[in-house]
Assembly symmetry: D2
Homo-oligomer: 293 residues x 4
């Protein structure tokens, strides 16, 4: 399939590489050209404009970090909406707000194009291995068209239905559930430490039994060892996600009280200079509030 790919950071590079390996014809674009160039040896054509990446492509993928980046790529005479052919699909794979997801869908619909949201679960190593979880939201026909691309990049698709914002809500829910699990662990670690329990004992208890899973093991270990600089996701990015989850919930009339607790801790951690540490650093903030630091 002829695919445009906009946004070739660490995640994007690995995803595009999987597409090339599966035999797709990939044209890549990145705001910083040099980053995109690393993909050329793998067979991608690297271009210098959004228009060149998207013109005559059936599907153009974006893998961008923030709503503003996506809006900038889409808007204007040199933007993606102007460049895509009628009937073409914009496959948005970054983590975006439900508001931006809706807006993207509307902008493309007005131009006779289609927006499919497909945010992903997994880190760059999962992307390199084609093991991402992919959350799809969009018109069924368009999602079907993208199926071979999903097969190349992911391990499994989760169908959120016809609304792109539904897929966005799932991604935000995933990060919210994980972020709050970390927050709750942090509270538990402080509680037992005040009673003299060794952190690794609590870690063992939790992960040996009902929480024998990646989420609790990875972040429980960081907390138990206070290894805040083993960064999977920063506290600052965590706060961005907390705000996105709360905004999605507000728009849907849903209170999300656990997210408030989590967000407050992230704000506190960032205010104390831990913004670029792993987002498990909320546990350190809890420890401070518990007289443990």
């Amino acid at each position: 399939m002829k695919v445009g790919f906009i946004g070739l950071g660490r995640m994007g590079q690995n995803m595009a590489r999987r597409l090339l390996e599966a035999g797709h014809d990939v044209t890549g674009y990145n705001r910083t050209y040099e980053k995109a160039a690393a993909l050329a040896p793998a067979g991608a054509e690297i271009v210098r404009s959004i228009a060149d990446a998207a013109a005559a492509r059936e599907v153009t993928i974006t893998m961008l970090g923030a709503d503003d980046d996506l809006a900038q790529v889409m808007e204007g005479p040199a933007g993606l909406v102007a460049a895509m052919p009628a009937g073409a699909i914009h496959l948005g794979m970054g983590t975006h707000s439900v508001a931006m997801s809706r807006r993207a869908a509307t902008m493309h619909a007005d131009a006779g194009q289609i927006y499919v949201a497909a945010p992903v679960l997994g880190r760059p190593d999962a992307a390199a291995a084609g093991q991402l979880g992919i959350l799809t939201g969009g018109p069924p026909d368009a999602v079907e068209t993208c199926r071979p691309l999903f097969a190349a990049m992911g391990r499994r698709c989760f169908d959120a239905g016809e609304a792109p914002e539904a897929a966005a809500s799932m991604k935000l829910a995933n990060n919210f559930v994980l972020g709050c699990a970390i927050e709750v662990m942090g509270e538990a670690f402080s509680l037992v430490r005040r009673y003299g329990v060794r952190p690794d004992t609590l870690y063992d208890m939790l992960t040996d039994g009902i929480f024998d899973c990646i989420g609790y093991k990875v972040y429980g270990d960081i907390i138990a060892k206070e290894d805040w600089d083993r960064v999977g996701m920063t506290a600052s990015l965590g706060l961005k996600d907390a705000n996105l989850a709360l905004a999605a919930a507000e728009a849907a009339g849903v209170p999300l009280p656990s997210a408030n607790v989590w967000r407050d801790r992230l704000i506190g951690a960032i205010a104390r200079g831990d913004g670029e540490r792993d987002w498990a650093v909320v546990a350190r903030e809890q420890a401070r509030a518990s007289g443990l630091e």
Copy 2:
């Protein structure tokens, strides 16, 4: 070993049976004699007083549901403290508050006896299979003495240190972490449902990846299917545990904001008549607050 066993409900029966199978000499007592009698065919001697259960025993186990029950068993001229020989061990395996754990330790110390707390993780089926997790807190020698009993009843011990209340804090932390995980899932289910996502899709996404563990599978399934009457633990008992966790945290100077959120939902659920449903019913309360019921 000669062991007294007080409190032969479903958990206690299964635990005592494991001790008998391992060759220990068990004397059983239950407030309601008939319940205890079921254990006689398995080889236990069933007695009609606490004194008869504890006299001349090296270790007497209690497996009682509430602090008040434990206090009643211990106090008074016909109570456990009066009945136990000097130097004997009271092994408290129920879930008790840190305050009660401390009080029990003091009462026994004043009588020249030893209190070891060893609350357990696992349901009656795990008890029947000798697969409990056991959280131990007490003087190392006394814990060592109990080791053969732990081997018969449990799969693994987690050593909380020398303070009985430390073991209590671990058990409360475990239930708090699980209860809040359920609460957070409930919030997430409401969020995505408002965007049209099917509950089982969220369930699949969460449990396929970072939350591929018993805790999320068992309760995520109840939430996804709204199967509130598949009761593992009732909302009313959950509220008891939430209050115990908050009291333990208060006594240690630890704020536990996620527990507040969880407790409020349990109160709401109970007020609407769901107190005897599974404690995952907090997700229903969230759904109500989200305009979904």
Copy 3:
């Protein structure tokens, strides 16, 4: 009227003095006899037992600090229930839990006596001036009987209805509303301080307009001047009240989320050694969480 008065601390002394000045015949009892003795010159008869204070009295007032104190005074062969004549009234004017209020009502009803709850609003100086607010809950006839006593001690009565626990709930609501108002002010002071606003400017703004009242002036001034040692009510007593309010709410099926926030701050403040400072010290705890200390 012949009145017994049990509990002659600062509040009780001032209240009893008002009764004497209004011509009532007061028999006083205090656990520590010496404290009660100070009331003798004002005309009270000071006795050495609860029985002597309550026997042959139409009304016996208790002004005690905690539920446990009230329970101890009431229970046993030397207690108030045993001592009061049939048909006599126990007028409980301390701040008690709804549970204790109910229990007191039941105990007296079982003995053919009457319990009226009448917790008060105001500090010792208001008591000395007969300017207390009095919250009444009990059988209308009994409340009517106590009317001359209320007239001597108070400025105004607020009728909570026939249930003593209803009067208790009003007192707890009052302290909860005030405590949370202080907490919210504390958050606001931290917010504007981080933007460089002088605390006294915020104080002026708030108390000049919509919050031109005692509650905001007294505590806003303590916060603005960080004068935590000007103690009206300690943080530790505040935590007791927060717990009473939350327990009353739980028993009634009411979530009280603002009380959770307030309680967490009190716990934090106490853990940092501010338990005996004024309960406005929650604002200091907020300042710490905001990077301002």
Copy 4:
């Protein structure tokens, strides 16, 4: 003084009228011309462009409802920044975010102009009577220049210092403190109602004593009478303010846990169709959560 006035809604009209009465020369502009026209008989010159309102004016006041409105008025070749003479003052009197306040200050500084923030406290009737509270933030000289205008419109100024966002933070703090006071009252009303206390009794108790002030009387009365359609400020506008306060706090590294509680209730109330009712309707949402509706 020659003054431009942009934004002639109910508040703006009343404020401009006060300026005219004090002898100032006012040129008025409103997006909807007809609204502005009502001011002509009072002596204002009504113009059809922002440029005409601001050109050759020493001070141009904006009284706009939202950040977006202010941004639109300021930006572009036909906007306020382009139209104002060098050295002139833009006096922003609407309630704006701290981010927008900072941005406005930067935009004007880049153009050699001055931004002074002066959000106000009070309703249209206070504006008509020249009784507004005015919160000033900006360079001292510029604030001094505006003093005669403040004298005409307000009762009292509160000096937040040299930063416009500091004045914004005070206005947001004011609304946050009030909104949370209402939320807490709502919780208290639910609590005592569940114990059978009449709402007006709680109202009397609160407002008779420590909360004898406008804020508690106005909103306590709405809650006690469930008179949600007596709208001073809508729940939807309240939510906007809650979000502004939380964003201001986040930017300053300040957790604002009471605002979370308040915001959740507003979201719930709006989701149930009460968005255009008075923001005291959070008390109704609490009543629902307490099984009272």
